[in-house]
Symmetry: D3
């Protein structure tokens, strides 16, 4: 059987291997424990409940394990869900590698590296170019593995790198249309703006916030990295290029109430913020619409002011 | 003498022909009337005060007239201003046509028409295509003459058409990057979204709000035009394509508090709103920075939450 | 047995015919399906849960059916509810017409028609009078059948018409007290302001939002109808009376954030908004207090900023 | 000459007696003092500036004095103003009583007393009736002299009484339409709600806030008066009628941010608030429109969210 | 066995006497009633559910009773909870007095009385001193029994008195550091500001809001008490000291939207508000951290903008 | 003559030496330039206008110069101002040192150094102690010279140091009252929280924002300094003590909308914020009341939500 989760018809029964993304043990109203699973394969994630779980089952079916699941795909309150009829752990010789089931960026790491490297040639400001290369090098591993967020948008392996590349594409198109935009500053800002996520989050699997992620935040941590890069590279931190670069990173959330300690006061800071919003919005809405039947409204999207979006029946 | 207003050095004296854009008569604290002028040539607008004006002078120097002005360019509170040493009306044989002094879109009307017409081929939805053509035809004159706003952004002759074309360029680049975007709907929305300005405002010279502009607003008036086009063209208003097209027009201000009666509930409505914001922001910030010396902050920009923007001294 | 739902004492058992207003199938924590019913008779609506429902029962007890129910009236968290001990469908010869169980306006359709028709004589402005008559005629059926809202206020058959008549009574009393109010404009506004609900909602039974209700909203749709009436009746849309009439409809939610695309800029627009608020408030609070014991606070009312209201023990 | 200020045509010259409502001494930009006058007669108030005032003139022309003024009525920025050509104090034998020039309620004190007294018969709750009579008696003088506010609405002699009577008329009409409203509570609330203004403000002439007006506010001071009346009349303050009466007074501003220490939690408290808003709105808009030419927008009204209102050219 | 609730290790089983603080009867999803208990001893409160309760058990285990409970301490969603394995009512001869199980202020009533009495000597303003003594006397019983709030902060027996004493300590330290602070006014304000809670709430056990608590609020009721004290003591209510004292009580919530009818307009009113906030914040955060393991975040605290607080692993 | 500016009676004439704090050249409505001066001596600052200034005078009377001024102290709109009758520059041998005229902290630098040094002994956490000493050392000069803000509070020479010492006093008193507070963290936070002002502002005379002050802000810059100190001192930046220290600095504005990139999530971060607010409030209100006559309201204070404060006539 080769169908994936989101290729199943509604009410279709199935048997397939799936990754346990989350396994929360809760107590049912009848006093017995049950497991609230989120299963995952490359087509997406789907929830399912396992009632009256024994202590052994709770022990056995933990987050990160692969299971062979028999069940039925259903709809509950407009959301897809799995009705579980039976499950067991995957055995030796069966698919057993979490990576086989996780969503991934639509570009390979090499393609992303390449596209970012091409961009470096257009960062013609020496201090910006050196700082960006230094930091990219320092986090070269994490950039293409981390998600761009715990939830919300680009929450998949490599999501951070893919979000960066998508934003670079918008940035380049804008910079070519509007000559007034300073390319080195805008491109450097795009590349660095979310790299602090690699310190804010714990990684691609079972993503949580780190202590410094909670208490300092990715914005300030990346600004600090620019400072450290300057010390290491003996670049004057007080030169206008570096102050501007720090500013576009600090201001990229656009408003104080969204966690930027300063509002954008450079054209490129404002536009970086808008590009970020645009790519994240398209990603969030697209994800929600993928789960929606044409002619219906999607579930509410937290990151889009809790709005739901309509999926039209016409396609052109 | 061929220099333009914004080509003058600070404290440089000059004699030149200028258009009177505004001429407000006010009473000075010493009880005498003075005229608060805004002069204009193709390089931009600059204010200047004319003290102790006689009734004849007030009669003579009205908005829309061309004058020959002797004066000095000065800086007052960081804003450029004209110190008037003498002025007279332009005579026969001298430059006397307001159009010669007004800012204009950087594209000719023909170029804009062409670019929009090219886009029509990509609006492959029959009802949308027919409605867009019908309305473009109805307002063919005004689109390329009206400004896009009374103040704020693209407030110049042809500004409405140029704003539309700039947005189409962003829209096309996005639609090619993100396949999920419905091109016919997004492009139709871009073309129609601000056409109601031609009924909201009085025109390119001495731009004011009309009564129905004040009481109904351009958003609702354009939605009505789609309705009328459907009646005329015998298109079913209740088909999903037309409802969607009306929606992207109604929702393009993005939030209820900005005057949209509905929030965006289609992907293309959200993105149309963001493209509109992006082009308007770049236009407003660029205009403000043009009047700013490198190393200084611009005046505050009302349409950008009253922020001022820094003009860096580095250029790459 | 002739008692109605809200005439039952608390903990009183009963057998009676009831309309199923809603029947949502949900899964209990023990994994079995149950039906969350809302039952209804002319005294009001009450919820009740049906545990461990079989597929046949889920099929049988759907929204719109009449059932003969044995149960007990209880209080749960301050809300009245039905404890179901048994139920079956109504049979031939038993009460079987949904209309027998639905709440209705306290006036007959004829009384409402009459009261509105009387008002038309006071709309002495020719263009307003003709437009109002045209639109009333077009929606003559729906006005006296539709509710005024999906939930919140006047959510019963004929609620829209009754809300209109109640507002007219306030409007007339005010117009007689304050001579400055323009009667034709105020009365026309009252009659038309919510008529768009007939296109926004699906009807009196199982009321939902239509697609155009969600994407365009009743405010804009009614404004469009004025436009279409003018075309049909060959009235100049740009005459001040029609612009004013459109404005009072568009502005009747009072604030942009409540979905009006313009704020009230005519005295009559402001007062129409306040009359609407007043009649809706009295209706919502009265409904909530009807379910409340004297000396207690009502449930929280969403449409009144989520406040609860106290029901005093004194009555005069 | 018998014309009043607002009966003058624009640019009409005049000689007439006027009351000096305000006389602020300011320094002109040329360093010399001038007096910014507000003149008043029964038709309304109008500003005018007196340039290069001598110390004797500043001493002579103070607030509260009557002057014989020669001048011209002008328009400045859409507001009516007086251009002063000469002025002197009124002499013995000339009109010299401020009361002759002050705006007044359109009802006489006797008419207002009568209308309120009639209402007392409908306050059939004994504790409410006694408290209302006691307080009315205590402030019998001030009620019909004080304005209802320093600025904003009903800011004229007797304005407080007239505002009360107008609200009573609305309240009665509503109470007859909606039986659920408790008449004694609603009418008592209307009569008492703003009586604290007599302690908050200094009086009808040169109205200012008192210290306790600033530090305690009229809402709390009136609530205290109910408490004192109960002590005096030996009524149990903790009976539900008195708690309810105190509540409607405390809650009549409708929202915490408008200065009510509690939000309305009784139907009558909510409706009292809405009636107050309605009468005040009509009064403020009507006042602004009186100064506006048909076909123009009024000045912005602070108490109406700073909106301006359009004065239509049609009248029916 | 002498361990208290919060001295138990996680998963430790126990048998102990506990007070039932709350006992809500709810219906489980399987249709059967269960009791949602909150148990309490001097170490704190903990929730526990009792499934499939019989009518007799519901009757027996009510709020205020003492039970002998066998169970296990568990963690559920980061909150401590009790798993009940058996329970019976306490018998004669066993601990049976609710007071033995309730949290209490860390000072005895005598210590608190003493500390407040010492402060009275520093209230050197005669009218303030007399009013404060009069009111303290009137509520002498309740001050040291009532909690300072129903939930949120100092929600324990004697909490009101302890909150007052804690604030007095901060106030004294500040008044000694900043000479500009008026000690009599600040100390009087601290002592009186929350005394209205004794009328707003029903008492220390099963704390609920009274009707006048809901409809008038503690702020206004205490202000009234000052008024009554003045009448009783024949002090002129209009003297500046009394107006100021009333003001600091009325303004102590700091903002209109927090329920103060006036904002602070005296230095001491502002500082009283800040001291109140400071003591309440420390109390709320400390309480939440007591239940939190080092290295974890606490539960969200409603009174602190719903923030959670981190409990560090370092202690110095 | 030895009186200082604020020791002069109203309308008292004087001759004295004063520092020019600001000298803005503006154009009067009559077209002539004038100078808007702010004069200063140790008693405070006062404005005064110099009309019809010649180019030589504009050149001569610049910010930072000392003048001998003849004038009169007046009141204008409730604010003290100087009426200038004559002025000349101070000559050799006359008081000529700006420092002689500038407001200063009420403690000497030595007293402040001493008090801070005493506190260091209570910072018993080794990493915090070392970081705090390192940074104090780095900015040892500026701390006791800079103001704590450009305007608002402690805007005088040494204001930053004095604000720090005042806050330390509050912090110590609180830490002794509430044992739960972590002294090392709280005291370290107090000392460091505003030190970034030394990079945000240009200095004590003619205080302006630096470019990095505008684009990065003092909060982030100080957090960076902690990072740099750790690198220099080879302290692990990821140890919990350092993360906590960075957090209290970042969070000290208390809310995102006040410019903190994270809200307080440590007890000490919340209390540091409240102490900062408290000392700043007392300073701002005290300054405003110093210029206010007893029995009057002060001018509005921007930093206190634009409230004005009443200065009572009683003093005890």
């Amino acid at each position: 059987m080769t169908k994936k989760l989101y290729e199943l018809a509604i009410d279709e029964t199935f048997e397939m291997f799936l990754l346990i993304k989350n396994a929360d043990v809760r107590t049912a109203k009848n006093g017995k424990p049950f497991i609230a699973f989120t299963f995952q394969d490359k087509s997406g994630q789907m929830d399912g409940k396992y009632w009256s779980a024994t202590p052994e089952e709770i022990e056995r079916y933990q987050s990160g394990r692969i299971v062979f699941l028999a069940g039925k795909r259903e709809i509950y309150n407009g959301n897809a869900q799995v009705k579980i009829s039976g499950m067991r752990l995957a055995r030796d010789g069966e698919p057993n590698e979490p990576g086989l089931f996780m969503e991934q960026a639509p570009l390979t790491k090499e393609e992303m590296v390449d596209e970012i490297n091409q961009t470096l040639f257009e960062i013609t400001s020496a201090p910006m170019n050196r700082v960006v290369r230094f930091i990219l090098n320092k986090f070269s591993q994490e950039v293409f593995e981390y998600p761009a967020a715990k939830r919300h948008h680009h929450a998949f392996t490599g999501g951070l790198g893919f979000h960066t590349v998508s934003m670079l594409r918008i940035a380049k198109s804008l910079a070519n249309q509007y000559e007034v935009l300073n390319k080195p500053l805008l491109y450097s800002g795009v590349i660095l703006h979310d790299l602090g996520k690699t310190m804010e989050l714990t990684g691609a699997v079972g993503t949580e916030y780190t202590l410094k992620g909670n208490l300092l935040g990715h914005i300030v941590m990346m600004e600090e990295e620019i400072s450290k890069a300057c010390i290491e590279l003996q670049i004057d931190e007080d030169c206008e290029e570096i102050i501007a670069l720090k500013h576009v990173v600090l201001a990229h959330h656009g408003k104080l109430e969204y966690g930027s300690p300063v509002r954008p006061h450079l054209l490129e800071a404002e536009i970086l913020h808008q590009i970020d919003l645009m790519d994240a919005s398209i990603n969030m809405i697209t994800q929600a619409l993928q789960k929606t039947t044409p002619g219906e409204f999607s579930e509410r999207i937290f990151g889009m002011d809790n709005r739901s979006f309509y999926k039209p029946t016409f396609t052109e």
